[in-house]
């Protein structure tokens, strides 16, 4: 009898389950998936926020053709890729070092972990203002460390294309290395201690143990951290908005900032949307790779 009620209740359970998911569906469909499609729709039209009189004429792929010939957009694409690769590289490197440190057992480990999490928790806008102040030509800490009281040597770091880019990378690496560290730490914790014990008995030194045991075993975790950071670095905006406004000479004009400027500052809703679509497709492809990587876990658990 128990079996019978159980079977007939499966459909009921499914309907009930689906109904609990409705609020989530409503939010995600209306404010995440629909806007993606809508962005694509907008990108096929000429829409200028300041000129409502021209309406929304359909212009096909005209905006995309324009994008191909937009030198600032190309520059912006290169800047974005440069930012993503340089900052991700350092985040993974520092993340690995931090993870190795906080994986050890020592007194005060909790406090060290908390201290490392502080940059992660700080609002990006705050960290941007902070680094902007550190790089300030007159009152900045950086000039003071480098040149002391010799104010004739003080430089306006953010007015220099190369150093402005470096400052944005530094601010991002400072803020997010700890996050990369946590992802790598999760991988480190799955390595059984016995492996190290055996290696020690066999006479392997610390470097050999790291090369032959740690590194191969945390490769998946590093890969996940790498992808996660890459995807997130594509979204850099707050740092650029506060520290450089894309300048000097477009040296920090990343795609997300360029798109924001086109749509909201200049009002080219249609053309700006092509940039939205471009950024989305790039991140979408990366996300699919990422999801494939962790899918094994996804399905073994469901």
């Amino acid at each position: 009898m128990v079996m019978k009620t159980k079977c007939s209740s499966i459909t009921k359970e499914r309907i009930f389950a689906a109904s609990l998911l409705i609020p989530c569906f409503v939010f995600v469909c209306i404010f995440a998936f629909y806007p993606i499609l809508y962005s694509f729709f907008l990108s096929l039209h000429r829409i200028i926020l300041g000129l409502p009189s021209i309406g929304q004429p359909f212009i096909g792929l005209e905006n995309y053709r324009e994008l191909l010939h937009d030198r600032i957009a190309l520059r912006s694409l290169i800047t974005t890729f440069a930012f993503v690769s340089v900052s991700t590289f350092f985040e993974i490197l520092f993340g690995l070092i931090i993870a190795l440190v906080i994986n050890r057992h020592f007194r005060g480990r909790g406090l060290v972990r908390a201290a490392i999490l502080v940059p992660w928790a700080i609002p990006t806008v705050v960290s941007a203002q902070m680094w902007r102040f550190i790089c300030n030509d007159n009152y900045g800490f950086l000039n003071y460390i480098l040149f002391g009281a010799d104010i004739s040597k003080y430089r306006a770091w953010l007015a220099d294309p190369f150093f402005a880019f470096a400052a944005i990378v530094t601010a991002d690496v400072w803020k997010t290395s700890s996050f990369a560290a946590l992802l790598i730490l999760a991988g480190l914790q799955t390595i059984p201690d016995e492996l190290y014990e055996t290696a020690k008995i066999d006479g392997a030194n610390a470097w050999q143990r790291f090369r032959r045991i740690t590194l191969p075993l945390i490769k998946p975790a590093i890969l996940i951290a790498l992808l996660f950071r890459t995807i997130d670095a594509f979204r850099v905006f707050d740092l650029v908005f506060v520290m450089t406004q894309g300048g000097p000479a477009d040296s920090t004009n990343v795609l997300q900032f360029y798109g924001y400027k086109k749509i909201f500052a200049e009002g080219f809703m249609g053309y700006g949307s092509t940039i939205s679509v471009l950024v989305f497709i790039t991140v979408f492809v990366l996300s699919l790779v990422y999801i494939r990587l962790i899918r094994t876990r996804l399905f073994t658990e469901t």
Binding site: V28, A115, P123, V125, F133, Y139, R295
Partner: protein, 272 residues
């Protein structure tokens, strides 16, 4: 052996030092006087003046920004958690097809670059007349934090012992009663973890706040901090003071709940 320990301590010290120093420098700046902030070359010590805190409150409406941030982040946290609990319960416990697809799509949403939905979200809010309203910002925040909440809670719900729920069902509880009488209290630590992470996200978010809140009356702290203007130069002292106010609650959260945050972050990103 001794040497390796020394190196280890050295590296640990450098890491902690580099993590804290820039921010400590900024907090220190907020405690200076105007003359100390604009000294060239910079002066290291501050006189511990609260001048900038007073002027930020009186001239820059700091408390107003704080109020808006509390309302937006608080409401986002509550709504996201409520919806996440319902959804995570389904994904962890009930029989339903396409669970993998649902989890995957949520993960995808959490990776959306803001710019790819910014224009349309702004247009939707404009046509609803919700620009410069709390709901105009809370709704996008709920959407963008739902994946985080659902992923963390699904993980926590799965690890709860099923027997208690079965016992409650036999005692005559229906599904909803089982959820809020048994599952929610048992998963309280997990719910709290999700709450911290969602709150931090909403408290720190800048991009959508910039688009939706164009009037000062509704702007949140990050917007205030980014857009503070002085008469002639940037008001660095006030910016540092407001930054400290915006960050102190987060630093406290981190120091008290470091373990939860670490487990929540790795669960959200790696494990599911």
């Amino acid at each position: 052996m001794k040497l390796s320990k020394l190196i280890f301590c050295g590296i640990t010290f450098v890491i902690v030092f580099m993590s804290l120093l820039p921010f400590v420098w900024f907090v220190n700046t907020s405690l200076k006087t105007q003359a100390e902030v604009t000294a060239i070359p910079p002066k290291l010590a501050s006189s511990g003046s609260l001048h900038f805190y007073r002027s930020t409150i009186e001239e820059h409406d700091l408390l107003h920004y704080v109020k808006n941030s509390v309302i937006v982040a608080g409401a986002t946290t509550c709504i996201t958690l409520f919806i996440s609990i319902l959804s995570a319960y389904v994904l962890a416990r009930l029989r339903l097809k396409y669970k993998g697809v649902i989890m995957g799509s949520l993960l995808l949403v959490s990776m959306f670059p803001q710019i790819s939905i910014a224009g349309p979200v702004w247009k939707i809010m404009q046509s609803l007349g919700w620009l410069n309203t709390y709901q105009g910002l809370i709704i996008p925040y709920v959407t963008l934090t739902l994946p985080l909440g659902i992923w963390i809670l699904t993980g926590f719900f799965r690890e709860l012992p099923k027997e208690l729920e079965d016992a409650a069902r036999i005692d005559g509880c229906n599904r909803i009663q089982t959820l809020y009488k048994i599952v929610v209290p048992l998963a309280a630590p997990g719910i709290f973890t999700a709450a911290i992470l969602v709150f931090i996200y909403a408290w720190n978010e800048f991009f959508f706040a910039l688009l939706i809140m164009t009037q000062r009356k509704f702007q949140t702290l990050p917007i205030g901090i980014a857009l503070f203007q002085g008469q002639y130069t940037l008001p660095w002292g006030e910016i540092a003071a407001a930054s400290t106010v915006a960050t102190v609650p987060l630093v406290l959260l981190v120091f008290f709940f470091q373990k939860r945050i670490v487990s929540g972050l790795s669960a959200g990103a790696v494990k599911g």
